[in-house]
Symmetry: C2
Subunit: 311 residues, 2 copies
Amino acid sequence: MEPFEIQILGCGSAKPSTRHNTSSQLVDLRSKLFMIDCGEGTQLQMARYHASYARLNHIFISHLHGDHCFGLIGLISTLGMLGRGHAHSLHIHALPELETLLRPQIDYFCHEMPYEVVFHPFSYDHAEVIYDDRSVTVSTVPLNHRIPCCGFVFREKEGARHIRRDMIDAYEVPISQIGLIKNGADFVTPEGDVIANERLTMPPTPPRSYAYLCDTAPSVSVIPLIEGVDVLYHDATFATTEEGRAQATFHSTSAQAAAIASAARVGKLVLGHYSSRYDDERPLLDEALAVFPNTVLAREGMKIEVNKNCE
Amino acid sequence: MEPFEIQILGCGSAKPSTRHNTSSQLVDLRSKLFMIDCGEGTQLQMARYHASYARLNHIFISHLHGDHCFGLIGLISTLGMLGRGHAHSLHIHALPELETLLRPQIDYFCHEMPYEVVFHPFSYDHAEVIYDDRSVTVSTVPLNHRIPCCGFVFREKEGARHIRRDMIDAYEVPISQIGLIKNGADFVTPEGDVIANERLTMPPTPPRSYAYLCDTAPSVSVIPLIEGVDVLYHDATFATTEEGRAQATFHSTSAQAAAIASAARVGKLVLGHYSSRYDDERPLLDEALAVFPNTVLAREGMKIEVNKNCE
């Protein structure tokens, strides 16, 4: 199966901490690399974990708090220094204000840069598909934060059917027909017999999906938009003892994140965006596990495979 | 003696590296904390080395390449989150374009911030005193880089004379007179005898000085401006094998840095701003040592005491 993997580059919240970096992660999906959020120091985290600068073409920014976007200008500048060519644009999907804020800095600091930065604005008040290619769509999920903020859902498209090697051999299907059969065609033997596609193939792998919901107060309106995703990364800034603070700052407790995961029947929950007050996130995990058993703590460098049996 | 200490927060050059952070350092001088340059991730380096956010009031930016200033917006934002009050302005000394570039971001990302950021522009075409208080002056040193760029010299002011405890006791000088005597006054005994100040005191500690010259091609015009400083931090981006590249990019080799240190008769040379091509800076050190023996390699976290016998 082609890879669909998340790598955490930063899972702390805004205040500086030596335990965690600010928000950023990579989505590696069928040889394409996407980034979600880009806090300060993200380019260094990429270097630390040997992530590919060359494969990164699309960055999705959830909202315009600094801990989710202050690393962009450094990353953009570095991509230029690393020799990214003029045919290799970088696409940034964000609320429209980001271009207004960042373009003057790009023009000043990166005026000799050979490649182009293209901004793709989206609106935060309704869910929409903001990226679509032959293998994946990315949709927004409006969240409930202090400022306009969206989550993202990455949904793999259904692939071709799987060839049954044994049947192909048995019917002596020529190689030239394989592509057609993968796409659903029947096979006609030289004798004129029609072999139904269902005998020659098995159904395609069910498409996989990943949702990133950070930063947000717990919001039931997200549930239909993320229903059944294989992996959910959710704001878990606080423990239940700080539920009042979570509410005041439009963040979630880990138990609230788990309740959303449970209601949306996701496969696996990844907790993140930890407040810097925690020297140990184990209590956050324990509170979530009591509500939703398949929960893990994000940590920097961690890779999470997205699949149908996210154990 | 009151402390005068440099701490390196980053001594790499622009390309990302897991060996070094981009440029920033702290100057801790008689209880005041100054920052020079502020590359991406500087606020995190401060957290790592337990530097005081509260004592930092003045930041000096040498030039507007990203690896010297991309960390400012994150640091400014964090100081606000840490509760810096409205009576506690942050002063940034830089070329005038920095305010144009940074003010819109401060207004957008930090609009709830309780304290003020005050920019103090300086010009790069002549040396000038840009900061002056009762204990220190900071002067600019125009450098020879691809874009306008200045170094900085921190010069301690001459302090008060040192009281000779034995003589104060012998003449039974009352405490009320001590301050005047430290500042040079003679003492008149109750009998009307005049005791010359020189008998009661010893000369003040010679003032100490520190020069930061980064980024620059080797430039003889700096020599009179840094003559005799106790510690010099100098651009040493390359080894001699890369002298052509150093010239093309307006940087220095470590041997060129050492030649400047020698010509300016400084006390100690600190090499920094290493190219990311070096996995080991020992060859840079060796080439400098052959020219100027009292040379050290900067590394992150290192503290360098500035004194008259910089061994």
